[in-house]
């Protein structure tokens, strides 16, 4: 095995494959260490509150370097950058003015606007109003309201009164250059929150969120979730699913083939008939049925997949190898010194053919990774786990390509293809090493 590995590194294609595999494994380890399993599920399933500060369907941040336009990163203006003025109007009533300045430099409009009010009061809630002053001096007062509760979200972009008053989306109109409606105006915006509080120990704070068009390394999806989480966690899941399925199926098929070939007679007959029955049973529809009626958990699907393929069609190939191998003189010698049937099957027959199986095992991995992705795209993916297939499914379901969210499709697709490519490169090289006859081809 050591020699095989050494030889493997002599092939450039295998080196590329090993590099990809190494990258995936590193990614998987990083994912598991950085975001524990439970945390990943919580992040992915979590309510919108968890991701509320992220923009919706934003492209990856590094896109900025490749576009001539300057894109917008999300800006959160909180109390730390604010100027707060308190004016006592009466014994209880005070006027609080919170002023923010925003130096807007991007060449695109923000994707959304929101204000979060954080108020402290006992019985009588405060009253608030937002006054937006554009760099060219226009002033837009809006959002007069009574925030209820400690934290109150005012999603400016969805304020219907404001939209009808401005005759357009606030994130457009507020940032529009009066001379060119298609361009945002650059310069300093001043946003003032004018609030009245009516209790002696009441107070209010606010955050203004100008949602950007790019976010993080991987962008976000329609639920503002960071796609990076899914890309990261997709790696260990894809590797576990692909390797698990390939390993389980290869091992069980070898064992059945060896038992059938060694004992022969009716045992061989049963194994062969089961293989043939298995060959005409389609896997995908059964997995779809299981997904629909029983459980969509990826681990249940993996178990069903392995059980369905316990006697896979490759049993036929393995059996041919074993039939040849069982007549080897060393098997006869083993019988002469008393090796039992099971010992011969597991210690003499199976180890002999393992070198020939390794390439097949490696080559089968991407097939199962893709199967998991296909199931997800069909809507049968694990609903709680972030996987690459799940990302593709969401992207597909929300018209990602129609809306131009290409990164949403390309990122998981790239990782899936890289996985397939890496395993295939290694598999074919291993095939060359273990089956030297292929070398000339």
């Amino acid at each position: 095995m050591k020699e095989a590995f050494k030889e493997l590194t002599r092939y450039k294609s295998a080196l590329v494959g090993l590099f990809i595999l190494f990258f995936l494994v590193a990614l998987a380890i990083y994912a598991v260490v950085a975001i524990p399993y439970g945390e990943a599920i919580r992040l992915w399933r979590g309510s919108e509150a968890m991701w509320r500060y992220n923009p919706r369907t934003a492209a990856p941040a590094w896109i900025d370097y490749f576009t001539p336009k300057r894109l917008l990163h999300t800006v959160i203006l909180d109390s730390e950058v604010a100027q707060k003025n308190v004016e006592v109007l009466s014994e209880r009533t005070r006027r609080i003015l919170i002023t923010y300045t925003l130096d807007y430099k991007a060449d695109v409009f923000p994707s959304e606007l929101a204000v979060v009010f954080k108020s402290r009061y006992d019985k009588k809630p405060p009253r608030v109003e937002v006054i937006w002053k554009t760099p060219d001096g226009r002033e837009f007062p809006f959002g007069r309201q009574i925030p209820s509760g400690a934290i109150h979200w005012y999603t400016v972009s969805q304020d219907k009164d404001l939209i009808s008053n401005l005759r357009g989306a606030p994130e457009k109109i507020l940032f529009q250059d009066p001379k060119d409606a298609e361009k945002p105006i650059k310069g300093i915006h001043t946003i003032t929150i004018k609030a009245y509080v009516f209790e002696s120990d009441a107070d209010i704070d606010a955050e203004v969120i100008i949602y950007g068009t790019v976010h993080g390394l991987a962008g976000t999806d329609h639920l503002r979730r960071d796609i990076g989480v899914a890309l990261l966690w997709g790696a260990p899941i894809a590797l576990a699913f692909g390797l698990g399925a390939s390993f389980g199926i290869t091992i069980s098929s070898i064992i059945f083939a060896a038992i059938g070939a060694w004992f022969g007679g009716w045992i061989d007959g049963v194994v062969q008939r089961l293989t043939e029955i298995r060959m005409v049973i389609p896997t995908l529809p059964i997995l779809i049925m299981v997904g629909l009626f029983y459980s969509k958990s990826i681990w249940v699907i993996l178990a069903v997949l392995i059980v369905l393929n316990l006697i896979e069609s490759s049993v036929k190939t393995y059996r041919a190898m074993f039939l040849q191998e069982k007549r080897a003189p060393y098997i006869e010698a083993a019988r002469s010194y008393g090796a039992g049937h099971l010992r011969i099957v597991f210690r003499y027959l199976i180890p002999r053919v393992i070198p020939w199986l390794i390439p097949g095992f490696v080559l089968a991995v991407p097939a199962y990774v893709f199967l998991e992705a296909s199931l997800s795209v069909l809507g049968l993916g694990d609903p709680v786990l972030p996987t690459w297939g799940k990302l593709l499914s969401d992207a597909f379901g929300h018209g990602a390509l129609y809306h131009g969210y290409y990164y949403w499709v390309l990122e998981p697709a790239f990782l899936l293809m890289a996985t397939g490519f890496g395993f295939t490169l290694i598999g074919y090289t291993l095939d060359k090493i273990f089956n030297p006859r292929l070398r000339e081809i």
């Binding site: 003189p329 060393y330 010194y337 008393g338 039992g340 003499y348």
Partner: protein
């Protein structure tokens, strides 16, 4: 006399079913068809005969790898079928092709360990000691150089030494050697035969040495059994048989040995005409009669010759020696 017998074979038949259509028997290949002999403690006997005469089938039946169709094999007076696994530790097997006889994925230590582990022999330390001992005995020394090697790293002669080491690692009483040198280079043949001889003498082994080459017989073995078409046609001590072969087939076989004397270089040899008979439909009567120049019409082609003993200890199945 009887208690000297290690292995007794009585009227042994091993037939292989050709193919079967439901309940209809199409035919049998009679690979061993009525064979009687004894091997004594510490005695080496040689089975000689041409290819396809049933020598290897006989060896495998003696090892218990094949169930006899008829007849029985007694080891120390007990039927083989009743001995079960214990018999495995009492018999060693040396095969023809040393490379094929060694599992290529095991190293020398593992190969020798397998019989010990399977037969629950000794403790771990005892096993290790036994492996080293037996490697010394077959002269795969220094032991440390060989113990971790894999079969493909050994030469043909070394491989065959390893096969012999494996055959004797359990301290058996009987060794079955099926053409142990026929696939080796001429240069190592004698070495291996001498090794077998010394092993046999050191452990007082009963040896069944199977060969088609009479020239290797004289290195060791006390008696020769000549096989022809699934039967033993002549049994005699080595010297007696070489000096005085009685069966026409044995005579032909001895004639066929290469003669190094240059005076005889141009002497024409008499070769029996025809081919060895089919074991599917063996000839009636004496199986050698179609090729025998001495065949007596009406007798040899009708009646199967019983075993005659013209001189004590020399048995022959031929009507000429009635």
């Amino acid at each position: 006399m009887e208690d000297r017998v290690l292995l007794a074979v009585k009227d042994l038949h091993k037939w292989f079913e050709l193919r079967k259509w439901g309940f209809i028997h199409v035919g049998f290949v009679r690979a061993v068809d009525g064979v009687d002999f004894d091997i004594h403690y510490g005695e080496a006997v040689t089975f000689v005969g041409e290819s396809g005469c049933g020598k290897s089938t006989l060896a495998r039946t003696m090892l218990g790898l094949y169930q006899p169709t008829k007849g029985e094999i007694l080891f120390q007076g007990k039927r083989l079928q009743k001995l079960g696994r214990w018999y495995r530790s009492q018999v060693g097997y040396v095969q023809q092709d040393p490379y094929g006889a060694l599992p290529p994925f095991m190293n020398v230590r593992r190969i020798l360990l397998e019989p010990l582990v399977i037969n629950h022999w000794g403790t771990r330390a005892e096993r290790e000691r036994r492996i080293r001992e037996v490697l010394e005995e077959v002269k795969l020394t220094p032991v440390d150089d060989f113990i971790a090697k894999f079969p493909h790293m050994l030469s043909g002669g070394q491989q065959q030494r390893l096969v012999i080491a494996r055959a004797i690692v359990m301290n058996p009483k009987l060794l079955v050697a099926d053409e142990p040198v026929s696939m080796l280079d001429a240069s190592v043949r004698v070495e291996i035969l001498k090794l077998l001889d010394s092993v046999q003498k050191a452990h007082n082994l009963g040896v069944a040495y199977i060969t088609h080459d009479l020239s290797t017989v004289r290195y060791f073995s006390e008696r020769i059994f000549v096989m022809y078409a699934a039967k033993i046609v002549e049994k005699a001590p080595v010297k007696e048989l070489i000096r005085n072969p009685l069966h026409p087939y044995t005579q032909a076989l001895l004639d066929a040995i290469a003669d190094p004397d240059p005076e005889n270089a141009h002497k024409m040899r008499e070769v029996p005409p025809g081919e060895p008979p089919s074991l599917l439909h063996p000839p009636s009567g004496c199986r050698f009669h179609p090729r025998c120049k001495h065949a007596i019409e009406g007798l040899c082609d009708r009646e199967v010759p019983p075993e005659f003993e013209p001189t004590p200890g020399h048995f022959v199945s031929c009507w000429l020696h009635k």
